[in-house]
Each structure stands twice: as structure tokens, then as C-alpha cells.
């Protein structure tokens, strides 16, 4: 049984370091003649300016349906958007002598700062567990601690705490049903980026799925960056922190002096 994916898609996925050419051994996964997924984003560069309150990203694409007969219902699309990886420290509180004290801590060298899974249906209706596990799709499958020193796994309660905290902030999410087909081959999804979205490079990977397996995938890059005065101030604070601090204090002194003089008692 030959399962030759279009080489373009394979190499793109390889270059972007997206986990796995993950096709499971279930059902008939042979792509129909010429069946492929193309995808794009409404914006590939999101600039964070002073009035940034989050953004709505539109992900859209097309599944070639050469025969025009294969109904949309027979295939699913799953999109995973991963944000820049960052180290985390997780602390656990315990009651000591009546007050709550941090008693335990775990380090994670790199966890995605943003992780959003959009899909046409709930994941467990689309394919078996193992398929998503191999491709690392879904919050349950997200490998938070793979690079930990000594290779020991992150305790389950700490792992859950990370998911909980990130979901609370709107940075991790699963949105089953958020991808909808418009007509037989066109699909779209709206992805909410909260205002606290981390700055850096993102990868959106779209998986075309049928009969419980992945039959095609495509990745696309997204950059989120600060711009304008925000970028200027951020770079000033990071690049020459001492001068930035000095400038901040001088500005504060000036502002205080101006206010104190303007409001002088008569």
C-alpha cells in the first residue's frame, strides 16, 4: 500500500520541525487522486501596538476534491497553532501552620507559550487516541516535559496545573467545531489571540484527516511582534536597562516637578 504524500508538504513539515509524519494504520488512508490541503492565514505578521487588545486570526484553506463528489462530511480538518517555547517554573502550595506556603517546585525547560487546537469535530470523534498521540495534537497529548534534565517525567498534577493556568489565560485552548466547511472544499476557522499572547514565531499546522487517520498536512508560519513605540520602549528596556531605569526616574522627577509647580498654592 503506497502512501506517498506530496513531497512538498513533507519537506515543508520537516523544515518547520512539526512533529511527525503521523499517519496511523487505520482505514483507507490513500489520498484520492490529487487530494491535498492548502492553507493560509489572514495575517502572517501581527504587530502589537498601544491599542492591542488581542487579535482574531482567520485561518482558511481548501481541500482539493477532484471528484467533487466526496462530501465534506467524510473528512475532518484539525489545525494546531503553536507559539514560541519558553521555560516555566511551577510551584505548589501547602498549608503550613495555617498559611499557604510554596513547598514544591518543578522546572520545565520549554513549553509552548501558545497552543490552540481547532477542529471540525471533537478530536475523539475524528480519530483514535494513538493517532493524536503520535502527532502531538491536543492538550492531553501536549508533551510539556520532553526535554527535562534526567528525562524524568513531569508529575501529572504539575502538568495539569500548567494546562489549567494557560487555559485560564486563554493561551491554551481546544476548540472543537471551530473549523467549518464553506461549501464542499473550503474551510475556515477563527482563532482568538488574547492580549497577553507571547511575542515570537508561531507555526500553524493543518492536518487533513479521513477514516481516523492523517492523510495530509501543511504548515504555515506566523510572527507576532511588538511595533512602533512599544517596540522602541521594549528594546530600550532590554538593551540598555540601566539607562532605561535612569530615564524613567528622570521623567518621573520632571513630571512631579511640573505638577508641583503648576498646582502651586496661591
Amino acid at each position: 500500500m503506497s502512501r506517498v504524500m506530496p513531497s512538498l508538504v513533507l519537506s515543508a513539515a520537516f523544515l518547520l520541525g512539526v512533529p511527525g509524519d503521523a499517519r496511523a494504520q487505520i482505514g483507507d488512508l490513500t489520498p484520492l487522486q490529487g487530494e491535498a490541503v492548502v492553507v493560509d492565514l489572514s495575517e502572517k505578521l501581527i504587530a502589537i501596538t498601544s491599542n492591542f487588545t488581542g487579535a482574531e486570526l482567520l485561518l482558511f484553506g481548501n481541500v482539493d476534491a477532484p471528484d467533487n463528489v466526496t462530501p465534506a462530511l467524510q473528512r475532518d480538518v484539525v489545525a494546531v497553532i503553536r507559539g514560541p517555547y519558553e521555560p516555566l517554573t511551577i510551584r505548589r502550595k501547602e498549608r503550613v501552620a495555617g498559611i499557604w506556603v510554596n513547598t514544591g517546585a518543578q522546572d520545565v525547560p520549554a513549553a509552548p507559550g501558545f497552543y490552540h487546537v481547532a477542529s471540525t469535530r471533537p478530536l475523539d470523534q475524528i480519530a483514535p487516541h494513538a493517532v493524536f498521540e503520535e502527532a502531538q495534537i491536543g492538550l492531553d497529548m501536549l508533551d510539556i516535559a520532553s526535554e527535562r534534565e534526567g528525562g524524568d517525567a513531569l508529575p501529572a498534577n504539575y502538568r495539569k496545573a500548567v494546562l489549567r493556568a494557560k487555559m485560564r489565560e486563554g493561551l491554551y485552548a481546544e476548540a472543537p467545531g471551530s473549523i467549518s466547511f464553506v461549501g464542499p472544499s473550503l474551510f475556515r476557522a477563527e482563532i482568538e489571540l488574547p492580549a497577553n499572547v507571547p511575542v515570537g514565531s508561531y507555526v500553524a499546522t493543518v492536518y487533513l484527516m479521513r477514516h481516523g487517520g492523517i492523510i495530509g498536512q501543511r504548515s504555515i508560519n506566523l510572527i507576532i511582534n511588538k511595533s512602533g513605540i512599544e517596540r522602541l520602549l521594549y528594546n530600550f528596556a532590554q538593551g540598555t536597562p540601566f539607562l532605561y531605569g535612569l530615564a524613567a526616574v528622570l521623567v518621573a522627577l520632571l513630571a512631579g516637578w511640573v505638577a508641583g509647580t503648576v498646582f502651586r498654592e496661591r
Binding site: 511551577i90 512599544e230 521594549y234 536597562p241 540601566f242 531605569g245 513630571a255 516637578w257 505638577a259 508641583g260
Partner: protein
Amino acid sequence: MQIYLPIAEISVNAFVLLGLGGAVGFLSGMFGVGGGFLMTPLLIFTGIPPAVAVGTEAVQIVATSMSGVLAHWRRKSVDFKMAGVLLVGGGSGTAVGVIAFSALRAEGQIDLFISLAYVLFLGIIGGLMMIESVRAIRAARAGRSVSARRPGAHGWIHGLPLKMRFRRSRLFISAVPPLLIGFFVGVLAAIMGVGGGFIMVPAMIYLLRMPTNVVIGTSLFQIIFVTGLAAIMHATLNQTVDIVLAMLLLVGGVLGAQLGVRVGQRMRGEQLRALLAALVIAVCLRLAWDLVATPEDLFTVMIGAGA
């Protein structure tokens, strides 16, 4: 109107911050305290990361104290010599405080330590001030006059070496107590993200027995330098000073402070102290409650390594 803060990396309502700055600035002008002990917890409550709240608050205190001190300067109610002595202690105290801050942060105990320090100091000071001012108010109602300044009641402070004359304060006392007070407040300023006025003012009144009219101006004057130093250190070591946030707070803060100074001058000293005491006790109780109440989530997740 939502505005994005470049260092805090969140979006907040600009009017909420202006209002917050104004309210705290008003109290700051009225009582001669920096307002940090109120503003820092309030900022954290609105979702600003605690480290950014502490660093940014230092900048804002510089501005409000500067605007507040000018009126006292013109009225010649700043004892520069006393402020200088307090500052020598305060500078070294801030440095020690920053080192302690880093060590506690590495251990993951800084939040707990900050809360405990707040509860302890606010509780003691608020309690003492409340008792004292209620007594003074009662005495005034009964027609007796109670002098806060009791010359000759210096006790052990009189026996210490390094005596200096402080003309503005009309004091001839040892430099050791102000040095120690300055140092102690410097440590607290660095660790708790406050100016330390809420400790400095009572310490000047009750320990140094400075006349009440120079206390506020002198406290504000030395706070400018201690918090300025703290702000530069926070910016340099932790990159946690958000200038946009500081600007919003200080626009509200300086306006509020001007109003506060005027209202404060029309109120009687003991009423002012009773009001401040009530405020201090309220913040103390709130923080104490947070220490014992079961948190919503027993786990906290922070970006950055260093468990």
C-alpha cells in the same frame, strides 16, 4: 480605552489606571506617604505581574513624592540634614534589600515573605496609630490639650553617641537612630516595593520626636531618593519597570496628590492619623486573609527558569 503595556505585556483599561493613580495619589498627598503599600497590591489585583508592579511603582512614587515635596519645600518644612542622615542608612538598606529579594525569589518564597512583612508592619503600625490617635481625639473632646511632642522624654536615645543638631526639627540627638531607621526602611522599600513612608512617618513622630510639621516634607524628600535608587536597580536587574504604566499612574497620581495636600492641611492631625490607621489596618486584614484563605489554584505557573 484599552492600552497595551510594553513591559508588562498585557492590555489594560487606561481609565482604570488613571483613577487608581488619582485615588492613591490623593491619600499620598494627604498623609505624606508614598502610597506604594496600597498601589502595589492594587496593581497586582488588576492583573499586572507582581514583579512589574513593584518595579513600576517605585517610578511612580518618585513622581508623586517629587510633586508633594515642592509645597513643603516652599514652606520650609523639609529638614534636609535629617533627610541626608536617613538617606545614608536608606541607600545601604536598599542594596541589602535587593540582595535579600534575589535570594528569596530564587527560593520561591518572595511572595509569602512580602505578604508576611506587610501584615506584620501594617498591623503593628496601624494598631499603634489607631490607639494613639483615638486617645488624642478623646483628650481633645474632653478639653485637655495633648502635645505629641514631649521634650525631655528622650530616654535611652539621649545616651547614644554621634550627636548632631537638626535645626529645622529643633532636635539635638544622636545620628544613630535616624541611620538605623533609614537602613531599616531602605530594606523594606526594596523588598516590599514601597516608599516606606508608612513606617518612616510614625518612626519620626514617635521615635525621633520630630515636630509633625517637618515630618511629612522630610519623609517625602528622602523617599524620592530611596525609590529612585530602587527603580533603577529593578530596571537594571529585572527589566520590570513599565514606563507606560508608570506614566498613566503618575498623571492620575500627581493630580490626586495636589488635592490631597490641600485637604490634609485642613484636617486636624489626630483625625488624619486615625484615618490613616484605619486604612493601614484594612490593607493588613485583606493581606492576612489572602494568606490563610485556600487559594483558587494550589499551583502557580511562572514563565522563566529558576525553581
